[in-house]
């Protein structure tokens, strides 16, 4: 907080002569209005992540709090050499990649339906918002019961009547299914907003020029919608990577279906190992950072926030 106050003050000093009274007032009001939000965000995220890094460098087991001691990077060594981490990591990556890819395709189809439909637009959009709004845990329980033999109608449809949630690959696919069901509408809405930015005339011109509907889609719509597509992909990728609720309810991470978030949670709250748990937390943070960095590096100006600065 104190450092924030001194920086503006310095800038203010050399700007005083150049800025009119109104501009200075505007500036001060700007800082004043942002300050509470900034303070909250820094206090609740920046400080704890620093603290997580500090915890991750210690041997800190809540069952033996007195034996806490500085161990350097050995927690990271322990996590990175553990098959549990790598299994969780690949499972997370697989779920993320597959579900986001399918969501993009389905979301596009859904966006086109919502954009083009001549009637029933209201009911369709209302229905679509339900998966978005519904509590993830609720949806996950619905899926879980549906796939549980004896209780569920979906399990009953399976030929052998086996329990798909108790085997690794079937369970992972069902987790992906639950994730897709929940997130596709959000993807579709973001893409719909992008579709609205595609001018009708451009599409009609392409049609007059003899472009097929596929060509209009691939060479007119998609390029024009690139920013919207990238934003949707970035948000959904990062969101999918931190998947927790669906897995917790569907399998609790059993049978090697846990994501990295599940692994971190288990280490923290089942084994009560704050040191290892924090190391996992920091590693997940780094992964998310790398994904975001890759997106922004690859797509540069199309990343959200960059247009913001120009205003």
């Amino acid at each position: 907080m104190s450092s924030r106050n001194t920086v503006p003050a310095e800038q203010d000093k050399d700007a005083t002569t150049a800025l009119s009274e109104g501009a200075r007032q505007e500036r001060r009001l700007g800082w004043l209005l942002c300050a509470p939000a900034v303070v909250v965000m820094v206090a609740v995220t920046a400080y704890p992540i620093g603290y997580a890094i500090y915890l991750s460098l210690q041997r800190y087991d809540l069952r033996f709090p007195n034996q806490a001691k500085w161990v350097g990077l050995s927690n990271y060594g322990a996590v990175l050499s553990s098959p549990f981490w790598w299994n969780a990591f690949w499972v997370t990556l697989f779920i993320t990649a597959v579900s986001v890819a399918i969501e993009l395709v389905l979301g596009f189809a859904l966006a086109l339906v919502m954009h083009r439909t001549i009637f029933g637009r209201g009911p369709v959009r209302t229905a679509i918002l339900i998966p978005y709004g519904i509590v993830t845990v609720v949806a996950a329980f619905s899926w879980q019961y549906a796939w549980t033999p004896g209780t569920g109608y979906l399990a009953a449809l399976l030929p052998s009547g086996d329990a798909p949630l108790t085997e690794q690959w079937p369970a992972i696919w069902l987790i992906i299914l639950a994730e897709i069901w929940k997130a596709t509408p959000f993807m579709a809405l973001l893409l719909l907003a992008g579709l609205a930015l595609v001018p009708e005339e451009t599409l009609r011109a392409a049609m007059v020029d003899g472009a097929s509907s596929w060509q209009r889609f691939a060479f007119v719509m998609v390029p024009l919608m690139k920013p919207a597509i990238l934003v949707a992909l970035l948000f959904r990728t990062l969101d999918a990577f931190r998947i927790f609720d669906n897995i917790y309810v569907l399998t609790s991470g059993a049978h090697n279906t846990g994501s990295v978030s599940i692994l971190g949670y288990d280490n923290l709250f089942t084994s009560l190992n704050l040191g290892i748990g924090s190391a996992i937390s920091v590693l997940i943070f780094i992964c998310v950072g790398l994904i975001a960095f890759a997106f922004i590096k690859l797509f540069g100006t199309a990343a959200p926030g960059s247009q913001e600065g120009e205003r």
Binding site: L55, I118, L192, L238, S281
Partner: protein
């Protein structure tokens, strides 16, 4: 011609029905489950053959659920109120004022929007125990409002850009300070956007599970999503399926109400922030 038109209509009708069925079918299944009589609970039927309110009566009889419901409502409402107030202030500044550090603010909120919550769970767990707010309302309100602030700032600044700002200029010409212009002219115009944002933030807080199971340990602050994950049957020989289904339906009701009443607003809010922001 008429038959081609009819074909067109049927085609769209089919597509629309498919979409609606897609969206509703897990919801219907949990509703069906919640109305099933215990004896038919495991029959795997898509419709309840014996309807009963028993599951609902059961959960409202226990303080475990009612307490969680009160926690959920209270925590989500307070977190929403705080996030929307702070978000409105920041978004106004972002949309309207020129000041150094704006980019930093936007970058920071973007960063937090991408933040993996699990990374914060371990430090917050320790910090909150130290501060004595572990397993209390503030212990959940604080992370909720923080994580919904980026959503609030993005959505609100997108809405604020649509406001006819000449009115503000007119007010300033008439001698209002920027602060007065904000309070007397812009705030009333901004109300619909603020309301929409509040709905989105509320849904976000209502939805959270990870913080709710990590930062609570008793019914004192445990919200419904966390509570139903810990439900046990009323006797040890009974599966909690019916109770979980009923509780799940109860916390879905507000979402359905919001969606039915404010569909247009929610769509506008979700899309404006993401694309224009």
């Amino acid at each position: 011609m008429a038959s081609a038109g009819a074909k067109h209509v049927t085609g769209w009708l089919t597509i629309n029905i498919v979409v609606v069925a897609y969206a509703l079918f897990p919801v219907w299944w949990i509703v069906a489950l919640s109305f099933k009589d215990p004896s038919t609970l495991t029959d795997g039927n898509f419709y309840p053959t014996k309807w009963t309110w028993q599951n609902y009566r059961g959960i409202f009889d226990t303080s475990e659920f009612t307490r969680a419901l009160i926690n959920s409502i209270g925590i989500a409402l307070i977190a929403t109120a705080v996030a929307v107030v702070l978000g409105t202030m920041a978004a106004y500044a972002v949309a309207r004022l020129r000041f150094p550090g704006k980019r930093l603010l936007i970058g920071m909120s973007l960063l937090i929007a991408m933040f993996p919550p699990i990374s914060l769970v371990s430090p917050l767990f320790n910090i909150e125990r130290f501060l004595g707010i572990f397993d209390t309302w503030p212990g959940l309100i604080i992370p909720y409002m923080t994580f919904s602030l980026p959503l609030a700032i993005y959505t609100l600044s997108a809405f604020f850009r649509e406001i006819p700002w000449d009115l503000e200029k007119a007010a300033k010409v008439d001698g209002a300070t920027p602060a007065q212009a904000f309070r007397l002219v812009i705030a009333p115009l901004a109300a619909p956007g603020v309301f929409t944002t509040a709905i989105l933030v509320f849904i976000f807080c209502w939805n959270d599970f990870l913080f709710a199971i990590s930062l609570t340990s008793t019914t004192r602050a445990r919200t419904v999503p966390a509570a139903i994950a810990f439900f046990t049957g009323s006797s040890q020989f009974q599966q909690p399926t019916g109770s979980i289904a009923a509780a799940a339906v109860v916390i879905t009701i507000p979402i359905i109400v919001f969606v039915l009443l404010f569909q247009r607003r929610i769509v506008a809010g979700l899309t404006s922030g993401a694309v224009k922001g």
